[in-house]
Symmetry: C2
Amino acid sequence: MTATRDLTRNQSLVLGALEHADGPLSAYTILDRLRDAGFRAPLQVYRALDKLTEFGLVHRLESLNAFVACAHGHDHGHAHAHGIVAFAICDTCGKVDEFSDDEVTSRLNGWARDAGFRASKTTIELRGECAGCLAAA
Amino acid sequence: MTATRDLTRNQSLVLGALEHADGPLSAYTILDRLRDAGFRAPLQVYRALDKLTEFGLVHRLESLNAFVACAHGHDHGHAHAHGIVAFAICDTCGKVDEFSDDEVTSRLNGWARDAGFRASKTTIELRGECAGCLAAA
DNA sequence: AATTGGATGTAATGTTATTACGTTAGGAGG
DNA sequence: CCTCCTAACGTAATAACATTACATCCAATT
Ligand SMILES: [Zn+2]
Ligand SMILES: [Zn+2]
Ligand SMILES: [Zn+2]
Ligand SMILES: [Zn+2]
């Protein structure tokens, strides 16, 4: 059983913004959407994002400089461990698909073991066009 | 046989800066190092990087917002096709190891095929600590 | 009450990337 | 030679993303 975590007000607001969005949001977009809730400065967003990422509730998309709520079903503050996670990002509609592949994880871990490299974070991002957008084109 | 490509002066300078560096460089660091060669503005660097990346001579490290010369041995302007390339980036010493794994490539391509996703670019980056730094610690 | 640590508020600054606009160099074709 | 076209270049301004610095607040502990 994974422990439920108490989120602070700012963390809840940022997580909520990401969960209600239809795609990844930049920190500054989140800031804009939370102005009415009292947000004033980027740091309020970045601090919350740091914690949410640490808790595994939010992922940062490096190739986009943006953030998404974790796609795995879980209640607020109730996370679960990820293996290596991959993202397929549609450059046309912005949709993001989060997935994970044990064989990929195992090969990358194997490479790291052989190289004596200790990985603390691994990023896998596919940029391209999703099935829906390809069909529409 | 892959065609040799003529690089422009700016492209050669930027590629040279990356090849002589001992690690990834940000666009602005490249700019600073090329001041004496007449560089004045970020765009000069970004334009050269765009082309070099397109030619496969340079890779962008998304998690670092920085660039490295391709590790594969090739003469200036003489590139070769990559499959999906992965990078192991040491957060301690900055060293970058470029590698490629057919099984990883095949699994990711397989996922994309099944999902109907057409990937135009795939990023794999391991952040952590290299063998040398782990031994030194 | 004093101390501690985490979270917060705010301003200033630093870093990375792009837009806009004008100029230059070189090849293709008349 | 001259015009058209295209790719590359030069420069300035601005936009977008992220961090540093410093003060304050508050709850838990001693
Ligand atoms: Zn997730
Ligand atoms: Zn799409
Ligand atoms: Zn390469
Ligand atoms: Zn190292």
